[in-house]
């Protein structure tokens, strides 16, 4: 199954977004919880405020009646109305507050008591001649006493809301701790997640690209045997697979080319008829070997060989048999020299043997061995040759340092061969 880089990146992006939203929602949920608690705390604070306000208003409720007793002003009755309006608003709000059963009962009781107090005050305020009236004074004292009881009663609101406040405070503290934990936890999680993400990105995108780059560099520098080992199932993996196939093809082509070059090279230096080295190789080799002999101060000899009366054989038995003979000659000669020596056919029936590391005396021995081998070899149709046998003549020349070049060496061997021919063939001659 193929998973493209785009899919990987999209998946990473989605994962990051999802994690981000998750973290945010966790924090916001916890924070919202705290906000709710804070809201509740504000409610409780409102209760405390209301309770203290109530006490104040109970005192104010008494004022018009007290003033009426002093001044006898009937306008104070209107002021009482105003006080009743104010206190009734507070009482209504106290009753509306969310609270436990105890709170509600207390609020209802305080409400009843304030009604009772109001009635008492109204009674006081409709006494016709209040100033100095003993009856009125008695009534107002009663009302004052009653209001003190009422204030004591309403102080219970304080203790109730105070308890609630402490409870809320504790809850808020624990919730605050939870918010902190969620906050730091989220940050830690986010960092962990990012680290994981960067690890995966580098593991599955970055590293394959680096591997690809290094592999391509290696192959480009000529390491055709190198293969990429990227196993990811995305575009990079596909690219690597294709690249490997390409390198395979190039490598095959190069092998083929090398083989062909080898063949061509072989053809270029080989005599087609005998399979020995050809004239060109011979000349190059002699120059090369002279150079080597010079450099390391080593001996070097060459043998020039020529089949005696080959023209006669050719004329008598035809070119095809002449060619067969040349081939046979080649193989016999090759068998007589050492592996390090080079046997070349440089002309029609002329052969050169290059013998590195070989003194003149040794070369003469080799030449003599060769001459004997040919003399004794039962060549086909050799009876028809002059003397009834097929033979060769050989000229041996050794390189003398400082006095010779390749031409002179060959000339010397040629001279020796010429002398051997002149002295009646089937001979080895050396002039050096």
């Amino acid at each position: 199954m193929k998973i493209s880089i785009r899919t990987k990146l999209t998946a990473s992006f989605l994962a990051v977004t999802f994690a981000f939203i998750l973290c945010l929602s966790i924090v916001s949920l916890v924070a919202q919880d705290l906000t709710t608690t804070i809201g509740q705390m504000q409610e409780v604070e409102r209760k405390v405020e209301l309770a203290s306000h109530l006490q104040l208003l109970v005192n104010k409720l008494l004022q018009p009646a007290n003033l009426y007793l002093v001044t006898g002003d009937i306008g104070e009755r209107d002021n009482l109305d105003r006080m009743i309006s104010e206190i009734s608003v507070i009482i209504k709000e106290l009753q509306k507050q969310q609270g436990d059963h105890e709170w509600q009962i207390l609020a209802d009781r305080v409400n009843q008591d304030i009604l009772k107090l109001s009635e008492m005050l109204i009674n006081v305020m409709f006494i016709d001649h209040p100033v100095g009236n003993k009856e009125a004074a008695k009534l107002i004292r009663k009302a004052n006493l009653f209001s003190e009881g009422l204030i004591e009663e309403s102080k219970k609101f304080d203790s109730l809301s105070g308890q609630q406040m402490i409870k809320m405070y504790e809850i808020a503290q624990s919730k605050g701790t939870r918010v902190r934990i969620a906050y730091y936890g989220t940050i830690a999680m986010a960092m962990l997640f990012l680290a994981l993400l960067s690890f995966f990105l580098s593991r599955y995108i970055n590293r394959p690209i680096q591997d690809l780059y290094r592999g391509v560099q290696l192959v480009a520098s000529g390491e055709l045997n190198h293969r990429l080992s990227i196993k990811t199932r995305d575009e990079i993996g596909e690219l690597a697979r294709e690249f490997n196939q390409m390198v395979e093809a190039v490598s095959d082509m190069k092998k083929d080319l090398d083989r062909r070059l080898e063949e061509t090279w072989h053809l270029a230096i080989t005599d087609a008829l005998t399979g020995l080295y050809n004239h060109r190789f011979c000349m190059e080799k002699i120059v090369e070997e002279i150079r080597r002999a010079d450099r390391y101060d080593r001996p070097l000899s060459i043998i020039l060989a020529d089949i005696d009366s080959f023209k006669h054989y050719n004329d008598t038995h035809g070119h095809l048999r002449g060619d067969d003979l040349l081939r046979l000659f080649g193989s016999v000669m090759k068998r007589q020299v050492r592996d390090a020596d080079f046997v070349c056919r440089i002309g029609g029936e002329e052969f050169v043997m290059i013998l590195p590391e070989t003194e003149g005396a040794m070369a003469v021995q080799i030449a003599e061995r060769l001459r004997m081998a040919i003399e004794q070899y039962p060549f086909p149709y050799q009876e028809a040759q002059p003397g009834g046998n097929l033979t060769i003549s050989l000229g041996v020349a050794s390189y003398i340092k400082g006095h010779m070049d390749s031409q002179k060496l060959l000339k010397s061997a040629d001279d020796a061969l010429y002398q051997a021919k002149r002295e009646g063939k089937n001979k080895v001659v050396t002039l050096t």
């Binding site: 209504k92 009843q112 109001s118 009635e119």
Partner: protein, 161 residues
């Protein structure tokens, strides 16, 4: 000469005293309609829902029994303690001030109603009734007759006591 007279301290005291007296008389005439008016008028908004209500309905409104008419919130208004209010309460409601107050104390603390507001100035009452479709009040008759946008439901005589 005149300036010197005005600057002398006894005359300055006299001027102050005279002006205070004038202001007192003026304000008494203006703000206590009970002294100068024989009748008070019960007024409602001309375009409101209360233009054709009976005395009994006025009573129920002032006792807090009727609070909405045709979807309008009804707000009854009072003037400050005095002969006008006293006459209104005894004629229309049939209760003494004390009994009325006791009634409303129960309404406020037991039923959660709000007290009818008190407006010190009768022209404030007129203004309020003109602006609020559910407004109802009682003012000196001359004041009510002067104004448009309100309707006089009924008039009652002021009972001196």
């Amino acid at each position: 000469m005149v300036l010197r007279f005005l600057r002398s301290s006894p005359s300055r005291f006299m001027i102050q005293w005279l002006s205070a007296c004038a202001m007192a008389i003026w304000s008494t005439v203006l703000c206590s309609p009970a002294l100068s008016a024989d009748e008070i008028a019960i007024i409602v908004n001309e375009n409101g829902p209360l233009t054709h209500i009976s005395r009994a309905e006025v009573r129920d409104i002032y006792l807090g029994e009727i609070r909405f008419v045709e979807g309008f919130r009804i707000v009854p208004l009072h003037c400050p303690e005095g002969p006008a209010k006293h006459s209104f309460l005894s004629t229309i409601i049939g209760l003494s001030s004390k009994a009325y107050k006791l009634h409303w104390a129960k309404k406020v603390f037991q039923e959660g109603l709000t007290l009818p507001p008190i407006k010190a100035d009768p022209s404030d009452i007129v203004k309020w009734v003109k602006e609020q479709p559910g407004g109802i009040g009682y003012v000196p008759k001359e004041l009510a007759e002067m104004d448009r946008g309100i309707r006089i439901l009924d008039t009652i005589e002021i009972i001196e006591h």
